[in-house]
């Protein structure tokens, strides 16, 4: 490598791109190593929902912080980024789920995130294509939708990072070795290779959690919000091997993106008919009219899943000069911008806006000892 970089980021998914962007904004010289297309990994296969979530305090802190950063960035994003503030409706099918909606309402409100309870009637007015008989919903108006593969490229370009096309086969805090033998020295190295991160940093515990998606032709106005069933929490939480949940998204193009499924430990990219069928049946239980829309494409993606569902952001257990930014499971689009900022804070030894320790890779080891 001719001109050595201050920092090398390995992986140009949304997380690596956000790291490169944040680091470059601090005036450091960045290089990005990517083996495929920029934004072509899990980032190319997701829903692009920017969503504040409360599975744990640490998850809430990170998603809320990052969602705020997305709203700041929104003003600068060109139209190709497809940023739309659609809002989320957490749909409750019965009284038990309605109680959960109220609990969430109180939880978010106490922490400064505005939400609104919709009763059955208000829900039917907000989304006429939902089936009748649902209990209500929690509306989170600031949640948004983006098109991540394009944004990943935009962030990398904006950072001015040199893009090195190649596959990293070994990484320490001071250099990266490529498959072709090239050694790239750097002041610091960030492993942002998503579900593939353990190949370079073996202490990381990351498993793939496969998801299916299906997209329809354009039906502008068919849905207005991203719809997620409150039962989703059961599916996203547990490490049970297979689950599906209703998760529907109106795209800026007018298409409807239909999710979601979860299969822990499955890393094949093929469409599995039984999962696709279960996922679509679930979606049609909530929005029966969906059945008549023509679907144009189905695909799958691998969520990088850590044992406690939180990402790894910070120094690697075996080499504290090597930084990790990986393992963002089903929330990596949402939490990418916060991840980039936290990594830049660590590099510059700056006090972060939220406590960073809950995301340190060392926590998983610490917990299991």
């Amino acid at each position: 490598m001719s001109a050595s970089a201050d920092v090398i980021v390995i992986g140009a998914g949304i997380v690596g791109a956000a790291c490169a962007d944040a680091i470059a904004r601090d005036g450091l010289k960045v290089a990005v190593i990517e083996s495929g297309a920029i934004g072509g990994g899990t980032t190319a296969a997701c829903m692009g929902h920017i969503v504040v979530m409360d599975d744990s305090e640490a998850q809430f802190a990170l998603t809320r912080y990052s969602s705020g950063l997305w709203h700041q960035l929104a003003a600068e994003l060109p139209s190709e980024a497809e940023f739309t503030q659609a809002g989320t409706l957490w749909v409750a099918s019965g009284e038990e789920e309605m109680a959960e909606a109220r609990r969430k309402h109180a939880y978010y409100g106490k922490r400064g995130v505005d939400t609104e309870i919709l009763d059955a009637r208000a829900l039917a007015e907000a989304e006429p294509n939902l089936r009748p008989g649902l209990a209500g919903a929690l509306r989170v108006p600031r949640d948004s939708v983006v098109y991540p593969p394009w944004i990943a490229r935009w962030l990398v370009e904006r950072s001015g990072a040199r893009v090195i096309h190649g596959e990293a086969v070994a990484a320490s805090g001071t250099e990266v070795r490529l498959r072709d033998g090239t050694v790239c020295p750097a002041g610091a190295v960030v492993n942002a290779t998503g579900v593939w991160a353990p190949r370079l940093t073996s202490s990381l515990q990351i498993q793939p959690r496969k998801g299916h998606l299906l997209i329809t032709d354009r039906y502008p106005g068919f849905l207005r919000h991203q719809l997620v069933e409150l039962g989703y929490l059961k599916s996203a939480h547990g490490h049970g091997s297979e689950s599906v949940a209703m998760n529907l998204q109106p795209r800026a193009t007018g298409q409807i993106l239909i999710g979601s499924s979860r299969q822990l430990g499955v890393d094949s990219s093929e469409i599995e008919e039984h999962m696709l069928q279960r996922m679509l049946q679930r979606a049609m239980e909530y929005v029966p009219g969906l059945g008549q829309l023509p679907a144009t494409r189905a695909w799958t993606g691998l969520r990088p899943c850590s044992p406690d569902n939180l990402p790894y952001i910070g120094p690697a257990a075996e080499d504290s000069s090597l930084l990790i930014a990986a393992g963002h499971e089903g929330l990596g689009i949402t939490t990418s911008l916060a991840t980039g900022t936290l990594i830049a804070d660590l590099l510059l030894k700056r006090r972060p806006a939220i406590p960073a320790a809950p995301y340190f890779p060392g926590r998983v080891h610490a917990a299991s000892h």
Binding site: I271, P294, A295, T296, R297, W299
Partner: protein
Amino acid sequence: MNERQEFDVVVAGAGPAGIAAACAAAESGAAVGLIDDNSEPGGQVWRRDRSHAPSQLARFWLNRLERASIHRFSQTRIVAATARSRVLVVEQPRGSFEVSYRKLVLATGARERFLPFPGWTLPGVVGAGGLQALVKSGLDVQGARIVVAGTGPLLLAAASHLRLAGARIQAIVEQAPLPSLTRFALQSARYGKAAQALGLGLDLIGVPLHVSSWIEAAEGARRVSAVRVRVLKKVKTYPCDYVATSFGLAPNIELPVLAGCEIEDGFVAVTGGQRTSVKDVYAAGEITGIGGVDSALAEGQEAGSGNALGADRWLPFKRLLHDTFNPRDELRSLAAPETIVCRCEDVRRSALDGMTCWREAKLQTRCGMGTCQGRVCGAALQFLNGWRNESVRPPLLPARVETLANPGRRSR
């Protein structure tokens, strides 16, 4: 309520290859299902013509199909396939169900290849095959001025058909050079194609034929009003009402790919008796190499009967066709930066600058992401940039969400 229809042999596609395969299989006693998207059998060439009687060959095969005991599924699209369980998911306008087979014959044919040039998206610029289909179903071209341009034997066939329908053919523009055309004419005589060509030639007496020539641009405000044609070193302008283009055919290999068949140079690889690389899956017709009706019929019979009948005698003809009418390099630079390459998503050629592969272009520009899933722009981008779209997934064609959710259930 699960619905699955079971057959010994299922034939996908009811063009000449599929009809021949279905007849051969049924005549040997098998229970046969023949599936096609169109409402009538015949495929692209034998599409029913409201103004003309079918050719003798078409009549022969359509009658034979009529007499054979074959379950015909028309207006039926295959939207998913699992080779392991030997099941196809099919969709009709009013429902969906599954079809299972012991043996599958793939005869899904080919579609027209479009190569982008400035103005190719103007109304009035159409595929030659598409325009013929419109005329067959009643479009009036009496007195219309038409330029037929592109490459290959289909140019003459289209020009002759359109002329018989009353159109005024302004010119036929063929990109292949005269020496290769001459060689083609001499050698194709061996395959019994000379009389056919002579007939077309007689139909077209008086029409200017430019060889080594191509369209540089179509012009017009709201629809095409003229084309600029490069003839040797000069540019000629022809006023016209339609431009019928034909740049050869692109095989419909999506179903074969999904069924797991090995692909070689863009076509389904077959060995003796039209066997593909997948057990009990056979392929016939244009998906194994563009060769026209006669080779399609021969291959179809072989695939359907399971006997080797010498269909491979058409291989040299296929090669000759390919070598003669392979589009020349100059056509790669016709599309200007602002020329649209992907019609579904309005992607212009300049948007693809700096992209290194199909997947990157798709993710960054939406090229090929639309309803046609790259069926139109795919062949163009393969020619322009050498990119291949290899990723085929269910649904193969746009399918209702409920079909994919409950493939075994016939609705209403």
